[in-house]
Symmetry: C2
Subunit: 431 residues, 2 copies
């Protein structure tokens, strides 16, 4: 087994006990990238010489942080002090910030090797797509906007990578690429230094190849409650199975994945109960669109007034408020979101987690359509933690996942639930 084949968790154990060095793991990842990158195109910036130098520096560290020696890919709309940050925008080609984004600085301080920058949908929002292809089928998208991060982890190029989610940009590519994905509770991970689209929605997320990989980054970010174990076994769990208000938009394979995951859990002794949401939730997908478009007005104004000619029409239309968002619509959307956050917490408190689709189906063909965020955007607006879990394959052999959802700030408990249910839901889970 090559080092690049290890999950982050398995690699971390070896890095901590000294049986693997950061340099060896980084070199192995770079070898894998050299082999896969011409086809997958996951990276916008990668400097192998600098990466090895950083890894050797980490190998000299007197104290090992919780991410010691682990290479991490960073979505290229998250700032890095030692690499350019282009946002996949012609405006920011060559831009180099003086300071790491908060999430990058924290990972670096915990001993991670910041390996390179991954391709992204422009500003993680709209406009230009990444060049990245789905490692499971090069004719298909890995999803977006965290295209390069999801594909890089799925292709074994790097054990961990940062994405972001404003609509469905972390969980959906995770499903399309057959990997584990986490969108934590909104605001618990400082998103400073990631390009702003919507302050209400933008959330730093991350990818790994096992549920325990996701926990490594949760520990680096010191999420609430990590010191309080759930203390349950699979047979103690109660899971709410939620088709949700957009069920009719799920392809057969996505509907099948949810029901299959529910059946696998029930067969393993979990209490699985169908949940429905009250009527106000029918408006929450539209509320997310209003918040996104309304906050997008201000988000791209700086580029609009300073670099109009290089700003994609998608962003000009946001600033010009082509979708006609009004102040009253904004206040109404915020208020509905507030109501539904409290209401969902109450519903979710009856379960260890809520199980629901992660994406509309298999990854679409081509590069332009990165998939519909409709199974994610409501959860982003509700601020609740989401963990994506691979489940099955669709009619074309592409991965199809599901996701589990917790109460706001219930990230730690949700990670414990993921560790229990993932081996049941995901037949391909390593080890």
């Amino acid at each position: 087994m090559q080092p690049w084949e290890l999950t982050a968790t398995a690699a971390a154990a070896k890095l901590q006990d000294g049986s693997l060095t950061a340099e060896a793991l980084t070199r192995s990842c770079l070898d894998r990238i050299a082999a896969q990158e011409p086809a997958v195109k996951a990276w916008i910036f990668l400097d192998p010489v600098a990466a090895i130098a950083k890894a050797r520096e980490v190998d000299k560290a007197a104290i090992k942080g919780c991410l010691h020696g682990l290479p991490i890919g960073v979505k290229d709309m998250i700032d890095t002090a030692d690499m350019p940050t282009t946002h996949n925008s012609p405006i920011y080609q060559g831009l180099q910030q003086g300071r790491d984004a908060a999430c990058v600085g924290i990972a670096r301080a915990e001993g991670a090797v910041i390996l390179g920058k991954t391709d992204t949908v422009e500003f993680a929002a709209a406009g230009r797509r990444a060049l990245t292809r789905n490692p499971h089928d090069l004719t298909r998208t890995p999803g977006g906007s965290s295209s390069g991060s999801a594909a890089a982890v799925a292709a074994g190029m790097v054990p961990l990578a940062f994405g972001t989610q404003t609509g469905g940009s972390t969980i959906r590519p995770g499903s399309f690429c057959g990997i584990y994905a986490m969108k934590p509770t909104h605001g618990v991970v400082n998103s400073e230094g990631a390009k702003r689209y919507s302050h209400t929605l933008d959330t730093i997320g991350w990818y790994g190849r096992a549920p325990s990989d996701l926990r490594l980054l949760a520990e680096a970010f010191r999420l609430f409650g990590l010191d309080v174990p759930l203390g349950k076994t699979v047979k103690d769990l109660r899971i709410g199975l939620l088709r949700g208000p957009n069920w009719h938009l799920a392809a057969p394979e996505s509907q099948a994945a949810l029901l299959l995951a529910g059946k696998r859990l029930a067969d393993a002794g979990v209490v699985v109960e169908e949940v429905t949401l009250p009527a106000p939730f029918d408006g929450i997908t539209e509320a997310q669109r209003i918040v996104l478009m309304g906050e997008g007005r201000g988000a791209f104004l700086a580029e609009y007034v300073s670099a109009f000619g290089k700003l994609h029409a998608d962003f000009r239309s946001r600033v010009e408020n082509e979708s006609g968002i009004t102040a009253a619509m904004m206040a109404g959307a915020y208020d509905l979101a507030g109501d539904c956050r409290r209401s969902f917490d109450a519903i979710a408190s009856g379960y260890d987690a809520v199980l629901t689709p992660a994406a509309p189906g298999e990854a679409p063909v081509g590069r332009q359509d990165t998939g519909n965020a409709v199974f994610n955007s409501m959860w982003t607006l509700l601020h609740v933690p989401c963990i994506g879990i691979p489940c099955t394959e669709g009619p074309n052999g592409l991965p199809v996942g599901v996701q589990i959802i917790g109460q706001r700030f219930g990230d730690a408990a949700l990670l414990d639930v993921a560790a229990l249910v993932a081996p049941v839901i995901d037949p391909k889970l390593p080890g």
Copy 2:
């Protein structure tokens, strides 16, 4: 009259008609700074040679933006591509970002001369105070955290300046320094590139010496509704006079200022009616503290793990959660804020604006105590627009202001109300 003595509005008119150049105004501001700065200490970074070069560049512009030729001071926790950004932190001495903060980029694209960086409380939050003194009394604070920006505008060093407000960091220094201040609706001005403390609370604000000065920046940021004039005269106005849940914390001069402002308005023909808030608002000051401390846990984690030795104990305590904020407290505070936002909008809809204290009293003596934010923090959490208006003087001859509050997204209407009530409330208003 020297150019530095002009309000931003008066200077803008001359800059637009060509009777004043950006260079002449910038030179005049630099002269004023040279005379006042040794005593006031408003600036962390100022390069007069570069400022004049920038002004001359603006004088060559083919198209005049809405801030054409106006020098602007920038609080030194807001990024500037052409100047260092220190956050008044030993960690970031010499840091230079590659990109302007959104608000700076927009102002620059609209023709503003970014004059220099103003001193601030460390990270606009806690820790080290600015060296800045109150121009009205050098033994006193100008308030914080936007200390240098408020003092610079009050001392005539610059006609406009950016601050931020997370608790009361824009409106309170405005009151202490006897100038006009605006905290817009949360989120309508992209705060990207300003150091994060609390994503729910951090709001870009600004200072001027007349209500119309505040409107210049509102136009640059294209706030909702600026094209729909209020269409009222003073005698058409209905103002709600609100003592508020913290009235007992107002010094006699601040209580007197509110009642005096109300009397002046009533004497001018405004319908002034006392308003009270329902019981849930009694918890909103504490909810703001919980949100601030809870979100502060993650806000300074990057500095905590990467530069612990240089991080002030105030920020270490946030990361270590010394105040014992729990997930349940956070969710409860967010939910109460959501309820009160909707409730306040309903109350405010009965008035053109709500008039309430801007600060506890006169500016405190010394540099360490920058004043209590208790008359501001609830409005910051409620996300509503606030405009600070000078009103009277306290027992020591220091300025004491009031503020008017609007509904969420009612920034444009509130600016129109400010233009009507400021000449009534503020006997010193120029012109």
